[in-house]
Symmetry: C2
Subunit: 259 residues, 2 copies
């Protein structure tokens, strides 16, 4: 039987989900929801492999996943069927026929996350699900000075939430910068080949807490050097975090074809 591999580009509102990874109990998950709907659409059991997990409450603009099927569906039929059956807030934006050596997790070369922070005296009525509100005044220049300290290759052991499988904790941040989208809306963009557990949320939480505590931005370097989670400060809440994009080698991208 001829099996084909399908690559999906997925967006989701993580608010009402227990994260990406299928689990036996608790809230529905994105992976579980996709597998259930794909299995119905293809009328065969489908397993979905994502580029990686996202925590409960974290959103995705550009999550990537793949699955194998022995049946044929056009891109139009697939997108229409999936988006018709998926719950509001989970959207399959695009689908390609992927080469057999494409693997959503193993082939991924790097990822970009965005973390959105609203720094204003009052919260947001319409965007509260997609950003973190911080009432106390933050210094944008301070946050950017913190981000400068962590760019490049470092051991991020201090920013790894415990309970993670042990392994190398050195990561290379190709991008780590704050952008001011409006006087009160800040966005932290970070790109790396890989991230430790809750690393982005631990980085953002620590930068914000250092600012509020009146510590110098150089404290980020001291915390990195300690290689000890006890030295970092808070973990920023999940609702501000968005998986923005997953990158693959160009030759693999070029081998993906319209379904």
């Amino acid at each position: 039987m001829n099996q084909q591999k399908v690559r999906l580009l997925i967006s989701y509102d993580g608010t009402d989900f227990g994260g990406w990874q299928r689990q036996a109990k608790g809230k529905p998950t994105i992976q579980g929801t996709l597998e259930d709907i794909l299995s119905r659409v293809f009328n065969e059991p489908i397993q979905v492999v994502g580029s990686g997990r996202t925590d409960a409450g974290v959103h995705a603009i550009g999550q990537v996943a793949h699955f194998k099927t022995s049946r044929d569906l056009s891109r139009y039929q697939l997108l229409r069927a999936l988006n018709g059956l998926l719950p509001t807030g989970v959207v399959v934006r695009q689908a390609w026929r992927a080469p057999s050596d494409f693997h959503a997790q193993i082939s991924a070369t790097h990822k970009t996350y965005h973390y959105w922070l609203l720094n204003s005296p009052v919260p947001s009525a319409l965007r509260h699900r997609y950003l973190t509100w911080n009432q106390r005044p933050l210094d944008f220049g301070f946050l950017e000075a913190c981000a400068q300290q962590i760019r490049g290759e470092h051991d991020f052991a201090s920013f790894q939430t415990s309970g993670t499988e042990s392994g190398p904790t050195t990561r290379h941040l190709m991008e780590a910068r704050w952008t001011r989208k409006s006087p009160t809306l800040f966005c932290f963009s970070v790109t790396a080949s890989g991230f430790l557990k809750q690393m982005v949320r631990n980085l953002v939480g620590t930068m914000v807490d250092l600012n509020l505590a009146g510590q110098p931005a150089e404290e980020m370097t001291t915390i990195l050097a300690a290689k000890n989670r006890q030295k970092a400060l808070g973990t920023a809440p999940p609702e501000g975090l968005h998986l923005y994009r997953v990158y693959y080698p160009r030759d693999l991208d070029n081998k993906c074809r319209t379904l």
Copy 2:
């Protein structure tokens, strides 16, 4: 007892509310929620007067309301208490001490509404609560040509949802234009001294339906001239509609003071 008038600037996510106006049954309303929380904060019964109603599911960026109280609270205390007690998705952005002749509804000179339309093959995962998704391709130039037909003073009887109290149906649209915020995101901005029941949603629904039916944009003028609701086409859904701003005479604005 010295009564003072307070003016509020309010934003709300209308998704989970039964509209602005307090009602005996059904979903909670914005007015009812505000009155309950204000009565708790001031420890006296508070009645809230809004600039006007919004339908169930319609959002507001800049709704305005007033209430009277005999008690004193600073702006800081009031905003903190209200935003701490109000449900997520209802935010009091600003509060002023208003002059005694200020009336949120009667003093309002005009209002601006925005209607957001996503015109793409797939829906939006993160903005689905705040816009209306239209899958079939729309012609932006056609929508703008329709908007041109309705600018200025016209009898909008054809665009008034029935069940309204009878009265004059002529309105002056100072602004009626479509803006293309991105290749797939369109926004209709409309400003007038007053609106008939569901007028903005009936205008948008008719423009979209004319486009999809391949009718000429001049049909808008024909429908206006008919002065008959049966002649207009669909009513666009509430989730795309946002009350953006309410305007008051400058002298009243100038007499509003920091609490």
